[in-house]
């Protein structure tokens, strides 16, 4: 058989997988173990992976020492969600235009959109900072949402366009014959049919918006109540004496909900990745 391995091949493959997955997952395991150790045993020499007196105390005390933890988690989720919704409002019509209509400069315009992918927020941080300052937008949710939105649009357009191209044109023609307007057709015919593609775009946009909030919040926001999780916890990281067990516990609790959801959405995530590898 083609896929029958000999025993030493099995050993080799599993050994390779073990090394590979150790590299990927060891930090999470370490973070979990650290969150279970009291500070006294954390700061002990020599290094031990497992120590006596493991406890879940940090998971209770962290709510007192990081009083805004709930708020940070909410903000992260809120910012990423708004970015995703605003992004979709731009992406869906634009992708439809690129997929369905002939107009002058269509391909170069699409190229310009894709080229935006080469920038990150870090590149445009100076003028954005000045603009936000000028219009009094610093320290608002808007300051963290707007730049994020711009950077989910190009990939989204690319992904959804390639999905929409495959929808048969007869659908729109049938709607046209029935007297439907074009906006109505987009809203009532195209969007429902394209839903699987839109789901992929939504998830891809959300992941991007959720994973990359750090620099905007760090630069544009100094109101602690508005901070997303990464910047909220960064303040604790920066301190002279880092309460590592609580920081790790808070980090894990903070990422657990999304991690859990992603496991179920795995198929869509990979679909989005492979269909539109225009941005890491």
């Amino acid at each position: 058989m083609l896929h029958k391995y000999r025993w030493y091949e099995y050993v080799l493959i599993y050994f390779g997988l073990a090394v590979f997955l150790t590299f990927v997952l060891a930090p999470f395991v370490e973070a979990f173990v650290v969150s279970l150790r009291p500070l006294s045993s954390l700061f002990s020499i020599p290094y031990r992976f497992i120590t006596d007196e493991m406890t879940f105390d940090a998971y209770f005390t962290m709510w007192e020492n990081v009083p805004l933890l709930w708020m940070y988690m909410f903000n992260s989720f809120f910012i990423a969600s708004v970015v995703t919704v605003l992004g979709l409002m731009c992406i869906i019509p634009a992708a439809y235009a690129f997929a369905r209509f002939q107009f002058p400069a269509r391909n170069s315009l699409l190229g310009v959109f894709i080229a935006v992918n080469m920038f990150s927020g870090a590149v445009l941080i100076i003028p954005l900072f000045k603009l936000m300052q000028q219009y009094g937008l610093l320290n608002t949710y808007f300051a963290m949402i707007a730049p994020g939105t711009a950077f989910v649009i190009p990939t989204g357009i690319w992904l959804l366009r390639s999905y929409l191209v495959r929808i048969p044109k007869e659908l729109e023609e049938a709607a046209w014959v029935d007297g439907a307007g074009r906006i109505y057709t987009l809203w009532r015919v195209i969007i429902p049919v394209a839903l699987p593609g839109i789901v992929v775009v939504t998830i891809t946009a959300f992941i991007t918006a959720y994973a990359q909030q750090f620099i905007y919040a760090l630069t544009f926001n100094s109101v602690n109540e508005l901070n997303p999780l990464p910047v909220g916890l960064f303040q604790f990281f920066g301190r002279q004496t880092v309460v590592w067990n609580e920081l790790m516990a808070a980090s894990l609790v903070g990422i657990l909900p999304v991690l859990f959801v992603y496991v179920f959405l795995q198929r869509y995530i990979v679909a989005g990745l492979t269909a539109g590898a225009v941005k890491e």
Binding site: V24, A97, A115, K130, S251, T274, E280
Partner: protein, 298 residues
């Protein structure tokens, strides 16, 4: 559609309005502003003057060329490692062994969590006194005493790369895995019937067919790595003594920490030039690939 081509049609432009507005406001105008600022001595105060090329002369005469070289060194090492580990990972995950579905899910976490959170964990792992890496290395005898990875130039440089690789590898792996799975089984079966060994099949079928994907990923990865901010900022803030200061970090320090917007903008213009050339290469690559297989451009 037949009815749309006949007269001048504004509908597609209408559809593009929201996306275009956002791009103009958040990308195009700021980009233009950066260009303009780079010829001024803008700082905290609202007053500024145009100073010609002074900012560019300043950065060229100082340590900036060194920062550029370091950025490229950092980027090449990181991208090279990502590609190497990612390809190996994809090959392993592509093996038809029990448990593979689970292993594929387990690769994802570093990619989908907020970058900063992953970096916090690495910050602890690099701790010299109590961290995991120093601890394990002492146990097995590689290190004779505690070693503070982020306190020395070379080790801090490598530490930021390792963390960047850790964050980037899952995406490369899953992308290359999907690319391997899209290869027709018939090819392998034909080769198998002809008695080709597993390694031979990999070298003559798998590898040539995924090279375009590797190239695409390498380029995208290079762009992302060039733009990388969170990892270095959280771990070292560009230190110790500038050892991990890449162009992005240098720009951020100049503009946001020291309020020298003009000088920062000149640095940004340099960054944009480099990124522009990467993107140019990317478009050439995309059009080549599109010509080869019209249905699957990327």
């Amino acid at each position: 559609m037949a009815h749309t081509a006949k007269q001048k049609d504004y509908f597609p432009y209408l559809l593009l309005v929201p996306a275009t507005l956002v791009m103009l406001a958040i990308v195009a105008y700021p980009l233009f502003e950066t260009f303009r600022l780079s010829f001024t001595n803008t700082s905290m105060s609202p007053k500024f003057e145009y100073v010609g090329l002074e900012n560019y002369e300043k950065i060229m005469s100082r340590q900036f060329p060194q920062v550029i070289a370091r950025t490229f060194y950092w980027m090449s090492l990181s991208v090279g490692l990502k590609m190497l580990i990612g390809t190996l990972g994809a090959v392993l995950l592509n093996a038809m062994v029990p448990g593979r579905a689970l292993f594929r899910v387990l690769v994802m976490p570093p990619w989908v969590i907020p970058i900063a959170i992953g970096v916090f964990i690495w910050g602890w792992m690099y701790n010299g006194q109590f961290g995991m890496i120093s601890g394990v290395a002492q146990r097995i005898g590689i290190l004779s005493g505690p070693f503070e990875f982020l306190a020395y130039k070379n080790s801090a440089f490598m530490a930021t790369i390792v963390t960047d690789v850790w964050i980037g590898v899952p995406m490369v792996t899953l992308y290359l895995l999907a690319s391997m799975q899209s290869i027709s089984r018939d090819l392998y079966e034909a080769a198998w019937v002809d008695g080709a060994s597993r390694f031979y099949r990999f070298r003559r079928i798998t590898l040539p067919l995924i090279v375009p994907s590797i190239a695409t990923m390498a380029l995208l990865s290079a762009i992302a790595t060039f733009n990388s901010f969170d990892i270095i900022w959280i771990l070292t803030e560009g230190g110790p003594r500038g050892a991990t200061t890449t162009m992005i970090i240098d720009t951020y320090k100049t503009a946001i920490s020291r309020f020298k917007y003009g000088e920062g903008a000149a640095r940004t213009v340099m960054i944009v030039l480099f990124l522009g050339s990467f993107t140019f290469v990317y478009f050439i690559l995309l059009s080549r690939l599109a010509r080869r297989s019209p249905n699957n451009a990327a």
